[in-house]
């Protein structure tokens, strides 16, 4: 019954989506509002419909319906309920359905707007949103149906949705279980965040296309989609950080980012999305770079679809990729169609988007932002090229090659340094006109303060110059932002004679957008501190030691106390070492690095023991052990300085973006003080 309901509502969603596209198009062409209204209703219906479908699949997972192919692939009796829900996005078909459901959520939410203004955009927003949704639902209906089940036929076991001739339904007793790597709290939240970030970019893209189609050259589409864009960007960023955290906690290689092709495919839309957010700012303030803004949103949206294609087509193998599938060519076709239509449209409107404003100075805010956009796109091009090259090489020379972290790092590291430098100058630069002299006057004080960023590390015995430069840049960005804030508060105090507190509150309220941007940039700097710490100063050692034996790394010493091996009631065999961490002869912590072996999927997972402080992380992995032997166990130990700042920065980042999207209280004019 549940599979019928789930698949039925999936089919209805497909029909409703296609109908919505047709109705909106027809209504627009014939100027019949009734049809557009009907299309809008269709659009608000897709989310409830897909909720029924997702609900059915969740029900099947929770109630162990292993006759359903998807359920038996990703779930098992021993899995706790929360993991069974996680299994919803743990495999190809389910994650596609989940993706469509989130997409439908955003798409339906757009209809909640009052739409008393800008009605000309509505039909085209509907067409773009519902056409995309129809594509994904189509994949789910005909190629990756999560509701098909096992059947025993005279020819053997087969899979189908409805009963084949002479078929008897098979009911396996247990399923294969979820990939153990995915059984981690980080995995419960990382994919939904990543997906939310991906699908939310459909909204600004739809508005952009609607704006192009209706020949509007104004910024209205940007204003309408600003919040959606920021939320999309927040979710995408969080998805990336949570993924990094999951890698750090579960993959057990002591790092957080391995330049895995699928990580890169999630990074690429983030890079172009970040560039888009910044050119939008120039377009709003100066009316410039409208063409570039359009190019960037088209690029971002297509990179989102491209990322899904990379993970799902079986083109790449990585920890993230799903199994080989037939949907690859269809995806490519969809991306090609999307690109052709959107670029053709952009080309037709190219002249109308041309700005009459010109860049007047190399040191103006817009020039600096454009420079950082170019740098972001530089990482994007390198990443894209690095991901594609092994395939190209295989096609041309027949030989497979690996493009690994050193390739990307060589480009990304100096670019990140350059971006930090721009982040130093940008808050002080003004729109339209700024001279070097003007900037210099504002920069010299923060510059002197920032020298602490050189002095302290040098005093601490640091000799590697890239690291010294990196720390100096971090100090410089922080100093510039602090000085800028103090300057604004002082100006306010001088002019209005307010108390210090009132001035601070006023400055914060008045420039909320600017200050939320400042918070986000400081968060990026905090993350940069974490990245610099682990990239430049990570040290490691490995050794095999008996019980009571020691392994030293830097000022830390770990002592192997004990090894426990036991079975758990959720189907794992756990080998857990107890390790005490000593520093300067004092025991400061006890860690439990372990190796979980999952019986159902026959796979081991290495979980490190980590002692994390603001200064450094001491990270211990249990590599191997001998049960009955004096040889003891092999441990790999990492010392990761400052990495915690990466995670703290992520929290600050959330605060900044939420502050930027917080609704304005525009209706109440600010009280005017009488002197």
């Amino acid at each position: 019954m549940a599979p019928d309901i789930g698949f039925g509502s999936l089919l209805i969603t497909l029909i409703v989506s296609i109908y919505g596209v047709g109705a909106a198009f027809y209504g627009e062409q014939k100027k019949k509002k009734v049809w557009i209204l009907s299309a809008k209703r269709a659009m608000s219906l897709v989310f409830p419909l897909l909720t029924i479908s997702v609900g059915s699949l969740a029900y099947l997972l929770l109630t162990n319906h292993f006759e359903i192919v998807y359920v038996s692939q990703v779930s098992s009796l021993s899995m706790p309920d929360y993991l069974k829900i996680t299994a919803l996005w743990g495999g190809q078909a389910g994650s596609l359905l989940f993706w469509s459901w989130l997409l439908a959520g955003f798409v339906s939410a757009v209809t909640l707007r009052k739409w008393n203004r800008d009605q000309d955009l509505l039909p085209w927003v509907i067409v773009v949103c519902l056409a995309t949704l129809a594509f994904f639902v189509l994949l789910n209906t005909f190629f990756e149906n999560p509701f098909i089940s096992y059947w025993q036929t005279p020819e053997g076991i087969t899979t189908a949705f409805s009963q084949p001739p002479g078929g008897i339904q098979l009911f396996p007793r247990d399923g294969g279980g979820l990939n153990p790597l995915l059984r981690h709290p980080g995995m419960i939240i990382h994919p939904p965040m990543q997906y939310l970030g991906f699908v939310a970019f459909i909204i600004p893209f739809a508005y952009a296309m609607a704006s192009l189609i209706t020949r509007r050259a104004d910024d209205r589409w940007i204003q309408l989609s600003r919040r959606w864009t920021l939320w999309a960007w927040l979710f995408l960023s969080l998805g990336l950080v949570l993924g990094a955290r999951w890698a750090y906690d579960v993959l057990g290689w002591g790092g957080y980012w391995g330049w895995d092709p699928v990580e890169i495919s999630a990074l690429m839309p983030w890079l172009s999305g970040t560039a888009f957010l910044h050119t939008v700012l120039i377009q709003e303030k100066r009316g410039m770079f409208k063409q570039l803004t359009m190019v960037l949103i088209i690029l971002t949206y297509n990179l989102v679809i491209f990322g899904t294609f990379l993970t799902r087509s079986g083109l790449l193998s990585s920890v993230h990729a799903f199994s080989k599938s037939a949907i690859g060519p269809i995806f490519l076709g969809f991306i090609a169609l999307n690109l052709i239509i959107s670029l053709w449209l952009l080309n037709k409107r190219w002249i109308t988007l041309k700005s009459r404003q010109v860049l007047t100075s190399f040191f103006s805010k817009e020039a600096l932002i454009i420079l950082s956009v170019v740098l972001l796109l530089g990482i994007l091009v390198t990443s894209f090229w690095g991901v594609m090259f092994p395939k190209i090489s295989e096609l041309v020379t027949g030989q497979k090659v690996t493009v690994g972290p050193p390739f990307y790092e060589r480009v990304a590291a100096p670019i990140l340094g350059g971006m930090l430098l721009i982040m130093v100058i940008c808050p002080l630069a003004v729109w339209s006109y700024a001279s070097f002299k003007h900037l210099g006057r504002l920069l010299w004080k923060p510059f002197i303060v920032s020298l602490i960023g050189i002095a302290l590390p040098l005093y601490g015995g640091l000799t590697r110059w890239p690291a010294v430069v990196a720390f100096w840049l971090v100090a410089f960005v922080l100093a510039v932002n602090a000085f800028e804030f103090i300057r604004r508060t002082r100006v306010r105090r001088k002019n209005k004679q307010d108390s210090l507190w009132d001035s601070i509150v006023h400055v914060l309220k008045r420039n909320r957008r600017a200050f939320s941007a400042m918070i986000v940039h400081i968060a990026v700097v905090m993350m940069a501190i974490g990245i610099i710490g682990i990239e430049f100063f990570q040290t490691e050692t490995q050794g095999t030691i008996p019980v009571g034996g020691e392994l030293s790394l830097g000022s830390y010493t770990m002592v192997y106390e004990k090894l426990d091996i036991f079975d758990t009631n959720d189907g794992r065999n756990v080998a857990r070492a107890i390790v005490s961490v000593n520093k300067d002869g004092q025991i400061i912590d006890t860690l439990y690095p372990r190796r979980d072996f999952y019986y159902d999927s026959n796979q081991p997972v290495t979980i490190p023991g980590v002692r994390s402080t603001l200064v450094d992380d001491f990270y211990v992995i249990l590599v191997d052990w001998k049960v009955v032997s004096s040889e003891g166990a092999t441990f790999k130990v990492y010392h990761n300085p400052l990495v915690k700042w990466l995670w703290i920065g992520a929290w600050v980042f959330i605060v900044g973006v939420v502050a930027a999207t917080w609704p304005d209280k525009k209706s109440k004019p600010l009280p005017v003080r009488s002197q």
Partner: protein, 170 residues
């Protein structure tokens, strides 16, 4: 005779010192390499099965065997490069973290470089064009004047401002 012996001893010492200085011979035959020595080499290699996971971090049996090979070779006195070449001969260039810089592989390094150089040239040209498009905005004074002329009395804007002022006072 004594002279000869002395010379021979000198020669022997120099050869030994030189031998000790040549990288790779630091691990004399028979000395057992540590896990860290093995990992230092393994970090730079990728096995063809576990794509994108460096050899030092991979937990599969195959990768463990590879690390065993590295250990054996190190204890036989092989250098890091010799060991890497050995794996390349056996399994192809894909075992290296980066494509070797020769032949078609050069493309992977050249394209980002060209894109960067091209991008910056384009950017500079664009900046130049923009600046010459409005030559009067070159000096600060002129910029101010231009900004003021941009602010030139626009009836609509002044009315809006007036209206706003009234509101905030009301």
């Amino acid at each position: 005779m004594i002279n000869h012996t002395k010379r021979f001893l000198w020669l022997l010492t120099s050869v030994l010192i030189l031998a000790a200085l040549i990288p790779g011979s630091t691990l004399a035959q028979g000395s057992y390499p540590t896990d860290d020595d093995v990992n230092a080499v393994a970090k730079q290699l990728y096995c063809p099965v576990c794509e994108n996971i460096p050899l030092d971090a991979c937990g599969t049996t195959a990768c463990e065997q590879w690390r065993g090979i590295i250990r054996d070779k190190l204890s036989e006195g092989w250098t890091e490069d010799q060991i890497k070449d050995y794996f390349v001969d056996q399994y192809g260039d894909r075992v290296l973290a980066e494509p070797p810089k020769r032949g078609f592989n050069l493309v992977v390094y050249l394209v980002p470089l060209l894109v960067f150089v091209g991008g910056f040239i384009l950017l500079i040209l664009a900046f130049q064009r923009w600046r010459t498009a409005e030559p009067e905005v070159r000096s600060r004074k002129n910029a101010k004047r231009a900004a003021e002329s941009r602010k030139a009395p626009d009836e609509y804007i002044s009315r809006v401002e007036e209206e706003l002022n009234k509101r905030s006072k009301g």
